[in-house]
């Protein structure tokens, strides 16, 4: 492919850099950015052998549509400006302007003859009809490029730069192709208002800014009239594309999904968990016609659950960390609770984003200053202690909030996306730094600094960026969220669209390219406008999407859209939603709802700081050092093995109450139906009943249940079990055996108590020669006596099966072992009454014993001081319910099935 390839391995290739240095880039925003010209000029290039460019007939009507500013000038800029610019015009020819072309050069006189393309010397040189063929030293123009130039000349070679600039400067991005129209403020009022807005600080200013600046927006696209049924404008924009593309769905719209599919989809999409069986039944049995809309509203009103579902997404998008400093490395700060609260209160999105960046806002996320190895370490969303950190922070802001990938432009001009020469990116990054940034190209410092500047020219904004750092950040935030910022609103509504439909209106969602228009730009523009005009209210736009007919279409793999990075222009029609995999959080939380039949907000996965083999296999990152806006949803053997054989997955599925309750039901059909409602939120069909029934019958042993009564097995009473090694607070003195009359005793001769000192104490043993065999139906027990004159604040029991992972406690949550609200630290109630012997019972399932386990150690812990006595301890062996395993297996299969694992 020859010289068309830009070889980044040789960045600093002077010839290449100089050619680019000479080019003037015309972005879609009317911004002209001269690139660094500090590099050496190239030597005179050699002529290339003549290339015959195909030429075709010009349609005069089409020719009239060609825009000099948008289409023709860039061709000259990219191909001719090296040698024929205002500074350097070989043969006296300046191609950088229309007057320049009309004036022409020494060799051939005027380069263009308006109305006569083929008599224009320019065209003749381009075609090689006159030698040397142009551009000299560059590959010849393409057929399309030549055609555009000829069209433009035929139509009169008019210069429309001035009108384009006015249009774009006033109206912001017009990628949808609609004409900008200005709202009528007189210019002096507008100026005064702009001044007001751009000085001072505060949340109210932000809202005022938004109100005023909204007035500058062009009218949004009008939802088109369509034949297909439409619940709201979204459907109209979607169907219009079907009509345009001549798809049969334009006349015969795809069907909406069943109530069962809608129910599950919308529960997962809004609150991140499936419904309980009761909630599912209620919805499916409801016959009112607007029940779907009411369900959307009902779910959106569940503020905490809604917020819990959003939190992990934003934690990853901003790189929120669980701790400030890890191994001496500072982080972006811990924003989890702030994110959660922001969504609970449905904080306007522009305000939320600004609070990450703008120190002048009352809700600003203050940096946290810690210390490591004697040095202060700052944790903050915007990190700027080094050049590298500054540019990464800027790149993250651009990626997440403007859907624009600038990372490549950190170290050299973005060689794939002409929008981003390095200096343009560094100018943006400079807004997050105390000083302007130096151009460091491929790790070589250039000594050249770039003035801080927002990459998009927004109307009414002063050119100069404030110098004081706080004001600079304030300005960056203002411009980022400004309604006229072409990308901020579009990026977030695109993310919403992708979240609920599976693929964005532009893809990749982090990399908007002006040269790759979104599929359905009108819908994108309308959604963005609607979002902004409703106060950047996420719930408003979410509701728009979820109540549209498009969202409710039936899943159809033949109609499903795909995004192929090799063919990014391929249109997406949204005639079916795209199949989506449940995230790790959605999966585990839904299993928790299925097995407990209630949503315990405290047990949601996002609250856990632990990472396990299961959560990692399901795609939950172990740490959030690098930001991310999407989970991959990949399948892999390592993941399947966890679902198949992982202890954690087993415990989560099998130890729920739902299996317990099902055990008592004798009617197999009812059991199967119940489990289908619980897992898949629908009844089992007749064939599913039949299959389930034969599975259960094959798995269940004799119908007669074992009639043995429960057996109480005492493990320790007056002595440690044989072979046990004691230990605890106070080492040798940890275990104190006491007897009457000095201390209370429940049974036998002695009781035991803790002999050490301190607020939090324990005494335990490990290594019993004959371990206690405990199964999921069993109940562990112990007897405890709290001294009424000196009661503790918490008591805890721990069991050891090789690890200390099973814990139950009563009272306050002071002892920090394990993870709160998990079997590794399960609260079973308040402190028992003091002054009497109380029998404490711990069902094995509560502490995660879903499969039989050998316990070889037991620990007695207390916190908050006080005196606690313990006596007889052991396990009550309940007859193993033979139905537990088969029912659990059935539930496992339901949960492992694709219908559970995917949203469709």
């Amino acid at each position: 492919m020859g010289r068309g390839i830009i070889d980044v391995s040789t960045c600093g290739d002077n010839r290449l850099e100089s050619r680019r240095a000479r080019a003037r880039i015309f972005g879609a925003f009317g911004v002209i950015i001269p690139l660094a010209t500090a590099l050496a000029r190239s030597a005179e290039p050699a002529a290339h052998p003549k290339v015959e460019i195909p030429v075709r007939e010009i349609d005069p009507a089409a020719a009239g549509q060609v825009s000099y500013a948008r289409q023709v000038a860039p061709i000259f800029a990219n191909n001719c400006a090296d040698c024929h610019s205002t500074e350097d015009h070989k043969s006296g020819l300046d191609t950088s302007s229309v007057p320049g072309l009309l004036k022409g050069g020494k060799k051939a006189g005027p380069a263009i003859v308006p109305g006569k393309p083929d008599e224009s010397p320019l065209v003749q040189f381009l075609r090689g009809l006159r030698e040397p063929q142009m551009p000299k030293g560059n590959p010849a123009l393409s057929e399309e490029e030549l055609h555009l130039i000829r069209e433009w000349i035929l139509a009169g070679a008019r210069d429309d730069s001035a009108s384009i600039a006015v249009e774009e400067k006033a109206g912001g991005l017009t990628e949808s192709g609609t004409q900008a129209s200005l709202v009528a403020y007189d210019s002096s009022t507008q100026k005064a208002l702009n001044d007001l807005v751009f000085s001072g600080n505060g949340k109210d200013r932000l809202i005022a800014q938004r109100k005023l600046r909204l007035a500058l927006l062009p009218k949004p696209p009008e939802p088109p009239k369509v034949k297909a049924p439409a619940f709201n404008p979204i459907d109209q924009f979607i169907a219009a594309k079907w009509e345009q593309a001549g798809l049969k769905e334009a006349d015969a719209a795809p069907a909406v999904c069943s109530d069962a599919a809608f129910l599950r989809r919308v529960y997962l999409d809004v609150i991140g968990v499936i419904p309980t069986a009761a909630q599912a039944r209620r919805f499916l049995e409801d016959t009112t016609p607007d029940k779907r809309v009411r369900l959307v509203d009902e779910l959106l009103a569940r503020n905490e659950d809604y917020a819990a579902h959003w939190t992990p997404f934003w934690e990853e998008a901003i790189g929120s960390s669980n701790v400030g400093i890890t191994g001496g490395i500072g982080s972006r700060g811990n924003h989890r609770d702030w994110i959660f609260e922001s969504f609970v209160h449905n904080k306007p999105f522009d305000l939320m984003v600004a609070e990450l960046i703008d120190p002048t806002l009352p809700g600003y996320r203050q940096p946290d200053i810690g210390e490591a190895n004697g040095k202060p370490v700052v944790s903050a969303y915007i990190r700027n202690e080094t050049h590298l950190e500054t540019i990464q922070s800027a790149a993250n802001v651009a990626q997440v909030f403007m859907g624009t990938e600038m990372k490549c432009a950190s170290c050299h001009n973005h060689f794939l996306n002409k929008e981003w020469p390095q200096t343009r990116f560094l100018a943006f990054a400079g807004m997050f730094s105390t000083n302007d940034l130096e151009v460091i190209r491929c790790e070589q410092k250039s000594g050249q600094f770039v003035a801080a500047r927002f990459p998009f020219d927004l109307p009414g904004v002063p050119e100069a960026v404030p110098k004081p750092f706080e004001e600079r950040l304030h300005r960056a935030a203002q411009l980022l969220i400004d309604p006229t910022n072409p990308r901020f609103a579009k990026t977030i509504v695109n993310r919403l669209w992708k979240r609920y439909l599976g693929l964005g209106l532009f893809e990749p969602q982090d990399d908007f390219r002006p040269d790759q228009p979104p599929t359905n730009p009108e819908l994108l523009a309308w959604l963005a406008d609607d979002f902004m005009r409703h106060g950047y209210d996420l719930k408003h736009s979410i509701r728009q999407i979820l109540t549209s007919r498009t969202y409710q279409l039936r899943f159809d793999p033949e109609l499903e859209d795909h995004f192929d990075v090799n063919q990014p222009q391929q249109a997406r029609y949204y005639r079916s939603p795209s199949l989506r995999r449940l995230t790790a959080e959605e999966l585990l939380d839904s299993i928790q709802v299925a097995t407990a039949q209630s949503l315990d907000a405290q047990r949601r996965t996002y609250l856990s700081t632990a990472s396990t083999a299961l959560t990692r296999a399901l795609g939950r990152p172990a740490s959030r050092n690098e930001i991310s806006t999407a989970r991959a949803g990949d399948v892999a053997v390592v993941q399947a093995l966890e679902l198949l054989n992982g202890e954690e997955f087993y415990e989560r599925v099998y130890s729920g109450r739902v299996v317990d309750q099902a055990e008592d039901e004798k009617d197999l059909a009812k059991v199967i139906d119940r489990l289908y409602w619980v897992a898949l939120s629908r009844p089992a069909s007749a064939s599913e009943q039949e299959l389930g029934s034969s599975f259960l019958k094959a798995s269940l042993p004799e119908p007669k249940r074992a009639e043995e009564p429960p057996v109480e097995q005492v493990w320790l009473e007056d002595d440690l079990p044989q072979g046990a090694n004691p230990g605890g607070t106070g080492d040798a003195g940890a275990w104190i055996w006491v007897a009457k009359p000095d201390a209370p005793v429940f049974s036998g001769e002695r009781a035991h108590t803790q002999g050490g000192k301190g607020e939090q104490r324990q005494h335990y043993f490990v290594g019993a020669a004959k371990p206690l065999h405990v199964g999921p139906d069993d109940v562990l027990f112990t007897y405890v006596y709290l001294d009424p004159k000196a009661p503790p604040r918490e008591i805890m029991l721990q069991w050891n099966n090789g690890n200390w992972d099973q814990r139950a406690y009563w009272g306050e949550d002071l002892i920090p072992f394990g993870e709160a609200n998990t079997p590794s630290r399960r609260r079973l109630g308040p402190l028992p009454a003091a002054g009497q012997w109380v029998r404490l019972e711990v069902p094995a399932c509560e502490v995660g014993i879903a499969a039989p386990m050998d316990i070889a150690g037991w620990s007695f812990d207390q916190s908050g001081g006080g005196a606690v006595y313990w006596d007889k301890s052991g396990v009550v062996k309940n007859p193993t319910n033979p139905a537990r395993q088969p029912l659990g297996d059935l539930l496992w299969a339901l949960v492992a099935s694709p219908e559970f694992q995917y949203i469709r």
Binding site: R3, E389, P508, P621, P898, R904
Partner: protein, 498 residues
């Protein structure tokens, strides 16, 4: 034709080439099918498998791979006088000496190469995690990308050797944790943007094998199979649309693959206690137990030693890349900031015999030539900069001569400063030279490389070359290539290869 490549052009040709592995940026014009064949012709792999013995903490090279003069402790001696806390001992390779305590490894030195002159400009200071990240990925944190580790790159590029054995296996590291440092580490050991398909199969304790290859305790195999066929059957009753979706088909396929792995004869590789002679298992034990250590709570000796035995068996069964770690802990193990001499004696006893036994076993089985064993750590050590051992405030030594340091007691006697400027690696088998030393360091502090200093990206390129992977192999993320050596610029050091 335009004079610049559109993103579309790059993606179409570059990605297609990168679908297997993007071998060279200049391969844009080649058809995708040609690219792998072309690369294969360029590089002939000398090794089929790799065992990476990862000993983090920062090993004092002066007491191990690059011994200097033995300078015994004398109260009041200057730091600049402390050149070695142990004697250099001769090895089975003429002219090559190792630190006393590595006697077993010394006896197999004729099968391997020591690289003594790895250096780099970046001073990691006190931050182990950044140095480890660099060693494992070849990139400096933060990169702005979820950077894959060496093992994931090998797994993705070369794939499995035996279809039943995972390509990337990790032995000796705990999995479940909420400790932030461990979480950070698990990210850099992971597949990064490659995704979960290239994640390591973790084996924290070799004695327990790969936990998920066995059914949950209490689950009998006939029950497991009944459950599996029920899953298959009830999925077949699901909505037709769901069954037709490709993603669903992939999901069901990996479930079946996972089930099949459980029956694979490869499982026997984990049964080393049953299948190996007791003398062999014993030979992999460290020569010191938990009770003998200064820090009794930090002992991974058996996990490490048996992990090496397991690694050997997995290579025999057809594994591709196995990393065995003596699990890192801040200030534990090799991360010595006091009592360096004593602790080095302990740590050498932990690793010396097992490693040597691994080399011997591979050799005896004729596997050593095609199996690359690499032993690495994140940086070397030097004398501390401050009298208060272990409390240096300035990011730890680096270029000190040690004149200002006075070693008053045994606790201060040892190499307690981090030394990013000088690090050693050892290579056995896999096409590397035998009985060879590459590079030389100064004999006095700072003991910087004075001959043949090498960069990490070149070391990585050499390892990749031995495995048959070009240094500019890359995979696309966020629309741009990300290379397995830093920016694709690694150059193999042919002087290391036979």
């Amino acid at each position: 034709m335009k004079n610049s490549i559109t993103r579309r052009d790059f993606i179409r040709t570059g990605l297609a080439a990168a679908a297997g592995a993007g071998f060279s940026r200049c391969a844009f014009g080649d058809t995708p099918a040609a690219a792998p064949a072309k690369a294969a012709a360029q590089l002939v792999a000398k090794a089929d498998a790799m065992i990476h013995i990862w000993l983090p903490g920062g090993i004092a090279q002066t007491d191990t791979w690059d011994p200097k003069k033995y300078t015994p402790f004398q109260a009041g001696m200057k730091g600049s006088e402390l050149l070695g806390t142990c004697e250099p001992i001769p090895t089975s390779a003429d002219g090559i000496f190792l630190g006393k305590g590595l006697d077993n490894i010394a006896s197999v030195m004729h099968r391997g190469t020591i690289l003594r002159s790895l250096t780099n400009e970046t001073k990691f200071g006190a931050i182990h995690l950044k140095a480890q990240y660099y060693m494992q990925t070849g990139y400096l944190f933060p990169t702005g990308v979820k950077t894959p580790s060496l093992g994931a790159a090998v797994a993705r590029t070369l794939g499995r050797r035996n279809p039943q054995v995972p390509a990337y296996i990790y032995i000796g590291r705990d999995i479940d944790t909420s400790d932030e440092e461990k979480l950070f580490i698990s990210e850099y050991l992971g597949p990064g943007f490659y995704g979960v398909k290239y994640a390591p199969f973790m084996i924290p304790d070799p004695a327990k094998g790969l936990a998920t290859l066995n059914a949950v305790s209490g689950m009998k195999m006939d029950r497991l199979d009944r459950r599996q066929s029920y899953l298959r059957a009830m999925t077949g009753l699901a909505e037709a649309e769901l069954q037709k979706a490709n993603r669903v088909k992939d999901y069901l396929k990996v479930m079946e693959d996972a089930r099949a792995m459980m029956d694979s004869p490869v499982k026997r590789a984990f049964d080393y206690r049953k299948e190996e002679k007791p003398e062999t298992v014993k030979a992999y034990e460290p020569e010191v137990g938990a009770d003998d250590l200064l820090d009794k709570t930090y002992y991974y000796g058996n996990r490490f030693g048996q992990g090496l035995l397991l690694a050997r068996r997995l290579v025999e069964a057809g594994a591709r890349y196995i990393q065995v770690e003596y699990q890192y802990g801040p200030f534990k193990g090799f991360d010595m900031h006091e009592s360096g001499r004593t602790r080095m004696i302990e740590m050498k006893r932990q690793v010396d015999r097992p490693i040597a036994q691994l080399i011997r076993d591979l050799d005896q089985r004729g596997l050593l030539d095609r199996t690359l064993v690499m032993i690495s750590t994140e940086f070397g050590r030097t004398i501390a900069s401050e009298p208060a051992a272990g409390k240096e405030p300035d990011g730890f030594a680096e270029r000190h001569t040690g004149d200002k340091l006075v070693i008053e007691n045994e606790k201060m006697y040892g190499f307690h400063g981090h030394f990013s400027s000088g690090n050693c690696l050892a290579f056995f088998g896999g096409g590397f030279k035998k009985g060879f030393v590459y590079g030389k360091t100064a004999d006095l502090h700072p003991m910087l490389p004075v001959e043949n200093p090498v960069r990490l990206e070149d070391v990585h390129a050499t390892v990749y070359k031995a495995l048959g992977i070009p240094a500019d192999t890359n995979y696309v993320t966020e629309g741009r290539p990300f290379y397995v050596t830093k920016d694709g610029k690694g150059v193999p050091i042919d002087g290391l290869l036979a």
